[in-house]
Amino acid sequence: MTAVTRARSAAAGLGGYLGLAALIAIVLVLVATGVLSERRWGPFGDVRVWRFILEGLLVTLQIGAVALIASLILAVPLALARLALPGPLRWIVVTWIELVRATPVLALILFLTLYMPRDLVSSLWAATIALTIYTSAVLAEILRAGILSIPRGEVDAARSLGLSYAKTMRLVVLPQAFSRMMPALVSQLITLVKDTSLVSIAAVSELAGYARSIHSFYGNPAETYFVIACIYFAINYTLSRVARRLELRRAKEPPVALPPELETAALQSPP
């Protein structure tokens, strides 16, 4: 890659930030010239409103972080079970993964928040568990694809060197599978961050829920949702750039045929 093409691709990657900056600049100009209502946009010049938004953002990030870590921990046994368990047991795992992936996340969240006994599990935790169930099933599939992409010969080599199955997995297969699934993992994280907004429907207040408080106080729903959308965009676009960079780094490694779940993951983050 020459310096020019590298600079050009870096600039292309920044397109989203430039677009966001242009969008904000247009809004600012339109407010200053009086085309857009000062009363409705004014609150977003107030530090206290931003402190409030930041509070909501922290809840969003907490839900996302807990769900991500829990899903990663759950995805490993799910993927290994689907690969290694004997017949009937494996079918139970396959059915679970496929059914969960075929379920709308919102339905899953409402199902759990309404079903869980309120005095044992708060709505916040029920919703986080729902997001974890969904994300772990998706990550299990990504991880399975990663494991399957490791050449069979590596497993055979490790086993014939005397490593147990568990050690082969832990020391040889999983580390490589994880590094291969990184772009797809970051893409799934974007989906997770977006899905946390659904939690607000189940009466758990995070960024989207805080947005409702703001606009019902100031009477500016369109403006508030625009600002909140920009915040989600800033986070997720940054994540998508990370995914793309990981993918480019991967592309430099010797070429290995990847299963479709892992191919061009950053290009097509799951909807």
């Binding site: 989203g16 075929a102 379920t103 989207a208 369109a222 959308a229 989600y232 997720n236 983050s269 909807p271």
Partner: protein
């Protein structure tokens, strides 16, 4: 007996089920059109249209559908742009634009997978650029694009449930309505069965289609 409540309120479920199907089919058709146009612009457009299409994809792909639907519900409402207050139309509009961003990326990758020699050959045979895109590139791109577009469609069916938040009377909305009325959670199981029937059928059909297309190539 289990299932009794669902059967007693069957007309709600049928209505919601049909609305979900209508919403998904309509939004997928619109998303496909948006995706074909935007992907063409992203590949062959001039600098400004290209970056605008790129920003459209990045912005709508990276923001939650829920926020987009709330935004459109407010903006399209009679006291703003005055276009519509019907939650079904708002949901159709929002889902189309959201899904269109994903469809754009799927179709674009299909276009980029085509050998540039094809375009050169078509152009040197005297076809205009538009005719080349329409007659040579897109028909071939659509074939490679079936699996990723199928995933987009499956996600769309599941995402259509978010429309319940703005009051669209689709499957999840109806299920919650019945659940509230009967103080029972059984209707939600009916809702899950409804979504599974749709997404799993789609997955089955797509699997067969993929196999057929693989042979045809």
């Amino acid at each position: 007996m289990f299932g009794q409540i669902t059967f007693d309120n069957l007309e709600y479920f049928v209505q919601g089920y049909l609305t979900t199907i209508l919403l998904s089919v309509g939004a997928m058709a619109a998303a496909f059109v948006i995706g074909s146009v935007a992907a063409s612009v992203r590949v062959w457009g001039g600098r400004v249209p290209k970056s605008l299409a790129g920003f459209y994809v990045e912005f709508f792909r990276n923001t939650p559908l829920l926020i987009q639907l709330f935004f459109f519900a407010v903006v399209l409402a009679p006291n703003n742009l005055g276009i519509t207050a019907d939650p079904f139309v708002v949901a159709l509009f929002g889902l189309s634009i959201y899904t269109g961003a994903f469809a754009t990326e799927a179709i674009r990758s299909g276009i980029l997978a085509i050998d540039p020699g094809q375009v050169e050959a078509a152009r040197s045979l005297g076809l205009s650029q538009l005719a080349t895109i329409r007659l040579v590139v897109l028909p071939q791109a659509l074939r490679t694009v079936v699996p990723p577009l199928g995933n987009v469609a499956s996600a769309l069916i599941r995402n259509s449930s978010v429309a319940s938040a703005i009051g669209t009377r689709e499957l999840l909305f109806m299920g919650l309505l019945v659940a509230n009325r009967t103080f029972s959670l059984e209707p939600l199981i009916g809702v899950l069965l409804g979504y599974w029937s749709l997404t799993l059928t789609l997955a089955f059909v797509l699997g067969r289609l993929e196999r057929r297309l693989a042979f045809a190539r």
